[in-house]
Symmetry: D2
């Protein structure tokens, strides 16, 4: 660390990587990255090289002393790392496509992080990520693991429960809301205090203060302007929002406007296939751009890809951990009593002070009674999913799916689980042992 940091990106061949590179360049004076290792699996080598070469051109142009390493040797990369970030997709976009399509056949929301789709993604991902943790425990025990891999909340809790790695889960959704507020109110972000209450992709904003003045009540009366790109943005019922007394995240539409969202998904699927197919086309275009040997900066088109603030979230967190800035970020951490109705180990998404020795969650000043049951119901599903992922127990997997609020009944759960496990057979060795 004497002469700079070693940072590892697992899933380095992702189309998001140029975002990260841009961040590392911009904040190099505060986060002195010396080596950046982009790691991917054999099947992703081609993309890794394209995006890796773009990264090298970007660094070269910056004139900064950052070394870019491209490798499929994960252990070599992890050795003595200071920060490891993950942005993986086990099963790639094909698996995502199945996560999105199969539930629709049963009249169930098909989404890659919420509902049965997210559950499958968790079952595929957790064992792989715990393998990575084993490597970090051995080769870089002091490293911080920044987990962007979705479903980020579940995956982060799996790491807390089954590994000693120091780990934080990240999502760009809170940062997105703050950006939106910054623009809408034309203030610097330090003047805004937003309180996030809940879990990853299941949070409510229960306080928005600007210069200490509460702005949420007014905002709940005018919801027109609020939307986001990668999630449908149908309007909320105003009477509902007012009595809710909180701003629900985009993902809560799956729970509160289930029928509308399902209909929209079904229409969209009929029109252009699942979202995975759309993303695939976007990615192909991005990689075409990245391949241009004259390109040495992040192309504008990447921003439309949806993960706008991932880079900012990651670089912010590393910077604050590195410098002990004690600033407030919204992160996925262990509950430890913040919600008195959830287990201590439950991952939650709340405001944290980022100290040098890790994020400390801030107590919540307003947890509406209304939302406690839903938080607990989803957390129950999440815990069961983690247990199923680790044990390969079909009974537990069934209980997870039955008790997910978006799965309408046991009968559908049984059938849906059967088909989805089968469809993911190649990525679920814990459920389909060899021999």
């Amino acid at each position: 660390m004497a002469d700079g940091l070693k940072v590892v990106v697992i899933g380095g061949g992702s189309s998001y990587t140029p975002e990260l590179i841009e961040g590392f360049i911009r904040f190099h004076h505060e986060l002195p990255v010396r080596e950046l290792w982009l790691v991917d699996i054999e099947a992703g080598l081609h993309k890794l090289e394209i995006v890796g070469n773009l990264a090298k051109r970007m660094v070269e142009r910056s004139g900064l002393p950052i070394e870019i390493h491209l490798t499929t040797d994960r252990r070599l990369a992890i050795k003595d790392a200071d920060y490891v970030s993950t942005q993986m997709r086990v099963g790639m976009l094909e698996a995502r496509g199945r996560d999105e399509s199969i539930p629709l056949k049963y009249g169930v929301i098909g989404q890659e992080t919420t509902g049965p789709g997210g559950m499958m993604k968790a079952l595929r991902t957790i064992p792989v990520l715990l393998d990575i943790c084993r490597d970090i425990e051995e080769l870089a025990p002091n490293a911080w693991l920044l987990n962007f891999t979705n479903p980020a909340g579940i995956v982060t809790e799996a790491i807390h429960r089954h590994s000693n790695v120091r780990s934080v889960g990240l999502c760009n959704s809170p940062i997105g809301l703050r950006k939106w507020l910054t623009n809408a109110y034309e203030v610097e972000s330090e003047r805004i205090y937003t309180e996030f209450v809940g879990l990853n992709h299941l949070h409510w904003v229960t306080r928005i203060d600007i210069d200490g003045e509460p702005k949420l009540p007014q905002l709940l009366g005018d919801t027109e302007g609020f939307s986001a790109k990668n999630v449908p943005s149908k309007g909320w019922d105003p009477a509902f929002l007012r009595s809710l007394g909180a701003l629900p995240s985009y993902y809560l539409k799956y729970f509160y406007m289930t029928d509308e969202m399902l209909k929209e998904q079904q229409e969209s699927f009929a029109r252009e296939g699942n979202r995975a197919a759309v993303v695939k086309r976007v990615e192909e275009e991005l990689f075409k751009l990245y391949s241009d040997p004259d390109l040495s900066e992040k192309p504008k088109q990447l921003e439309q890809r949806g993960g706008a603030f991932y880079s900012e979230a990651a670089v912010n967190l590393m910077r604050s951990l590195h410098n002990g800035t004690n600033d407030i970020q919204t992160l996925n951490v262990a509950n430890n009593g913040i919600f008195d109705f959830l287990p201590k180990e439950a991952s939650i998404e709340v405001n944290c002070v980022v100290t040098k020795t890790g994020p400390l969650p801030l107590p919540l000043t307003n947890v509406p009674t209304h939302v406690k049951g839903l938080i607990h119901a989803v957390k129950t599903y999440e815990q069961l999913t983690i247990e199923a992922a680790v044990t390969g127990d079909r009974g537990i997997a069934l209980q997870a799916m039955v008790h997910h609020p978006l799965v309408p009944n046991v009968d559908i759960a049984v059938k849906l689980l059967g088909e989805m496990l089968e469809a993911n057979r190649d990525y679920l060795p814990q459920f389909f042992p060899q021999g």
Copy 2:
């Protein structure tokens, strides 16, 4: 109390009352009732007289020194009472009919205790019951209130939260399971230990021991024999039951087999109207029987009415409170830490030791993770319902309905709430103040 107890039955004109009388007669040596006051409202006076006269004939035949009083003067009845029991139906069977019918129009379960129907029943009942509590606080501060009025769990919690009356909620469902086990295994009931986990009409049995030997695993493999009269008894999915590791109560079919139950309700409604209409016909027949001046015992037909063990539950509880028998009964009491994820005041339905100074809940030895979220989700709805009943706040009522697991989305909740409140206008002065 020196020469016997004063017992008051609010809603004494109910068709169930002969059950109670029979119990008081049978256990008079242990529960020396001196005066039994049957109270009803003006509109129920005719039925009160029919059932009251039957009661008098039953007592006369027994030769016991029990005085039967019939009155519409509630305060006179309550004065210095030892036990007050309630079995009311605010709005009578007509209101129940609406509770059952209106949700069906929106594709939502229509049931008098679970879901939007139960919510309306709670909104109608809580203010009336709290009025009764005011009378008890003033006129019989040491009395025990035994609440059979449904939704018993919600109503009991409302009393705990908004009154100082010593109160317990009762349901015949746990006693029914124990009866079933007693028959099925041919043992005396003392040799059976069953652990109930959950809320009223939302419980799971997580332990059944006979002579200390665990019998539940075997029972979960053979669910054929298990059913009940007043709730549809479609079979459970065996794989689901096995991994659940607990026996769900009949009412959980509304949550776990929602589509099947809805379909059954819709078919039944098309065939013979709502359940309220069926019950009405049965009641009319019962009262015809009760009017027979030669009848001086509980007629057999009453048992088919559905509330088989209400009498037993009520007399058992009074008997144990009176004698301090320290036996174990399954009751609705304040949580006080039994479930570490629910508020202290939450009413829960669990095993209690009935001491002379009240029931003490026993710690639970097995609370499956699977069911915590659902318990919390329903308790959230219950708390909001109580708050709405007491305040008449439509926003809170909307949140209650939105967050009920059986209500599919905000849009339906808004419409359903609007129609149901309107349909109950006469019984909801808190929502429709005069002026």
Copy 3:
């Protein structure tokens, strides 16, 4: 178990054993003991034979089919046992003498269960008892361990934390209070409800109801009659008792009347040596009596020995576990949320319902604020003592002693710990490893 139970008494050569035998004889119809194994160590063989032969004569006289086995082979005895009871004294009365004498030199209470003396007893005993647990886990995994060995609360918690054996801690003190009440009020014990709040040898009685009528307030005004034989009985300050609102156990005099108790101990020590010496003389006389081949019943003199109700406590508990009587007994069990300020694993002494599958602690209806701090302070010492006993860590032992409320300061703690550990060197291999 088909033809009766196998019961093992570790420390069977104790002078208390005839009490137990008498109990097994009296309640044989409810607790069908087939084999009773009295186990002791080589050094206690002589006493074991004396008391064992008396036991045989007592059984013979009763005509019951109970086999008495005397052995030093613990594993042979434990094999397939149904109940194991322990009443050990590691280091025998000589060690007790040191536990009582050394603290007095430093102006600190010298007592065999409370304070530094009790700590030393715990350090000597816990490893031995955990060895016994290893045997039970292996040879009789379904057996219940009834632990009478003092300090019973600490030792029971050590077993809960470091073994899987099903275990309960017992003390005769609560049964003694109930006996006293039974006599004083001339009622049967079923008509009395007493609520015990606290830890072993550190409890308060916060409710005494007779026939449901509260009797405690009156009793707190008249404390003359209340005393016990084996603990000094100086009177409590009446104003203190009234505002305490609870009856403190005898052992609380060490905390509330420290100076008086210390002075009394010092005077008694000057007069007749430590209590161990007194007990030794009593025991010698008892064993002389026991040796009489014509004696075939429990001699009256045993009752003056002090452990009056041990037998009753043990037989009661075995009987209720065996028959699942669901009666209420005051036992040492894991906290599990009964005290919301103590860890779940903390052993506490409270009322329990004894079900066939073990005791379930009843919730407390009245925990005075005043006593929470003292309970927590003593529990802190207990936890540290267990940790020190298991690890042999002197630093933890020092923290335990420093934080005991009866140890006045760090300086004394350092010196006292040093001298007491050294004096117990032969029985503390964890602190004085060989080599």
Copy 4:
């Protein structure tokens, strides 16, 4: 607030006030004080004028637009205030003298914040402070109350429990430790992270990181350099500190080194009277200095007075509340689950992030088991003291004193309480009602 803040200092005639003035001048760019109201009682008017005139000269010299108001009209001062700070001494130094002297007669620590002395101070102060809160609730409901009045923890909890005023308790002790570390390690204070665990005047430092590197273990090996001016600084036992694993605050010497501290107090008392007498002489000299019309800055001698960092603590907190800086300060706030064994309302002294809408306590990363009991024991005393102060109930006051760890037994507690209440009769109307 548009053109600056209104700040009120209750007890403005204190000798500490020039410290505050200096702070307001130095940080005026960040904390734009427009009006500063120094309030005192009639009996303190002379001192108020002396210190107030010095304040005016200091402001004049600074050239800043701060108006100084001197008044005995508390309500006029509080009207529309932004910040109210209190630094009162009900009964003045004479009462402190008694707090310090009387316990010594009984062989008990005599100290103005810890033990029976602190208890009396709390009984005198709480009713007065709650009166001030009534004024703030009425006249300046949005004001923040910064409470420096000792015993700050108890007083702050009394305000939380019995008033709606937004209030924080402050102490200069944590800031003192950080200053000491800053000097000792020659680093800027932002590079230091210290975790404070406990209550006001009863805290342990369980983490000291400099640049993220743990420094505490090393510090616990070398305790020579650590001392403070206004509390005796006898050395800690090194073996004790090492196994404690935490740095105890100065005030913990009263608990851990009771005999030594008592002896020192007794010797000091014999030599120069109680500490109150010493302080009185220092104050007289200070006021002589303050009276010099040529003095227009804080005199050096004030620093020796002992309250070195009070000003810094107060100005820091106002500044952070005003600007929402989200920095970390060690403050007295409501527990709200930070310690899972204390009530939610308990005041605790821990690190907080100071947001614009108030301080949010940070979760603790290391709470040693050893100290939980002592924290709970002292908090028990504190709660009882608050209850006694509000009700004037002697029985509760007796329980408070009996259960204070520094009071050796009930007998002394009874006598000490009697004498101390009597000695404070003029300031305890709740215990000595007129008539």
